[in-house]
């Protein structure tokens, strides 16, 4: 395996087993925010 590819595959994320965990956290936080903002908007309509 070329050196550059090795370093890419060896990149482990902190806290989660794979990067998927971090991607799910980022998208979940976005969804939660949209829901909260929607509830705020609706409560003043």
């Amino acid at each position: 395996m070329p050196e550059s590819n090795m370093s890419i595959n060896d990149e482990k994320p902190p806290l989660f087993k794979s990067w998927k965990g971090w991607y799910i956290v980022t998208i979940s936080i976005l969804i939660i925010q949209v829901v909260i903002y929607y509830l705020i908007t609706e409560s003043f309509k």
Partner: protein, 569 residues
Amino acid sequence: MSGLDWLVLLSTLLFITVYGIYKSRGNKNIEGYLLGNKSMPWYAVGLSIMATQASAITFLSAPGQAFTDGMRFVQFYFGLPLAMVVLSITVVPIFHRLKVFTAYEYLEQRFDLKTRSLGAFLFLIQRGLAAGLTIYAPAIILSSLLGWNIYLTNIFIGGIVVLYTVAGGTRAVSYTQLGQMIIILSGIGLSAILLFKMLPDNLTFTHVVNIAGKAGKLNLVDFSFDLNNRYNVWSGVIGGFFLALSYFGTDQSQVGRYLSGKSIAQSRLGLLFNGIVKIPMQLCILFIGALLYVFYIFQPQPIFFNRVETDKLQQGIYKKEFSVLESNFSTIQKIKRNEALNLVEGLDANDESIIKQSTARLIEQNIAADSMRQSARELVKKNDPASDSNDTNYIFLRFVIDYLPAGVIGLLIAVIFSASMSSTSSELNALASTFIVDIYKRSINQKGNPQHYLNASKWATVCWGIYAIAVAEFANRLGSLIEAVNILGSLFYGTILGIFLVGFYIKYIRGTAVFFAALIAEVVVICCYKFTAISFLWYNVIGCFIVVIIALLFQFLENKNETKKSRSL
């Protein structure tokens, strides 16, 4: 401004300039000057990305935007976290693996020289213009504070930024951005706290939120689909996603930031940190605008926030009309105050009928006040056709100058300058990198020595600085600065993104097809801007799709021709 404010402001400016010059020591070649060392941890990458994006424009324009239009602008950022995820998966590993200095180098490796040059050229046009707006933002502060000529102020501010950037290089940009971002976040917090403290004592946080909400300032989310509506969930998620993908994936001022991460993991974490923190940060800045709305119910609100223009009106031929307008506006403000107090009473007594009545009257008075502000804008324009009749960018600034205590004014203005200098220096550095690496070194002079390219990079930074200052001279005709920057970006980003997406994902397409598809897409996007009412966020989607579809078509035709030729041979 008091002597203390000047001391805080000038010492900060001096510190930034000296620090930039100090950090430029040891730059002996183009790599050190334009790229620095790939040594930054994730939090520094994340803060540097945020500092580059959040310039003084963000700090000045966003509260004014929320004050006039409500907080719906936050939807613009909904696509950003999704883009951060996609970039972390795809672009970051590719750029790291190829060890590129600029994003456009990839285009030559994947396609050909002309496509690389086109990508670099489109970036240089739009980022050069955007850098002008970044210089203009703090320049309006000095012109409004001291009554200086805005054109001379642009030259003064731009000159300091150019001096610091030319001397500092990338290393100084990265180091200063970290501290500047911390100062910006502290400034946002301090402003919100002081603003809230200055409201009447009997108002609780719930009252403030209710007044702002009932007046329509907390209109955070709109699910209705309308191509002509500038900010709704769909334009934010889809258009904002494409804009963020283009900005963070193909704009050298951002690519250079996360390429400075010491590993792929650090670059990825930096991007994801931005994806998680950006929306709440923007929400806080917008909330200052909503707080300002409530503040100006209980304090005398200027009918027009740019004092330079109102001073001109008071001495001009329309002074009588303006005086009548001001007096009527003041009466409406008094009614608004009473209705807001009624609303507070209704909320405390939990009396729905009082709440409904006072809300309806408050909205009625808001409409009347808006109409008077519009009349004032028209009067400003009539009085001096060359004047800036949009005061959105002055709303927060006017509050800072009129109400904040000595020392804090200087600190907040220093924060705005720091933010602006940080963004501008990053932009000028990226412009110089792209021009030298992708155009000059690649196509004009390939035989220079390291010292020659270092000097050329410094001269390129100076030239781009002069160009940006020239753009700043015309920026006062563009309305809300934050919108102007994003509209400008959207005119070019879709096309650039299309080129990169084809490069990453459609191996079938070659250089010539994507090159001509990009030219056509750019013409279509500019036509959309000129001749249609389509909201600017959609330009990113349109430009990107046109590049992909036409490149596919051209490649199909090219392959067909090649097959015919090979058969005839």
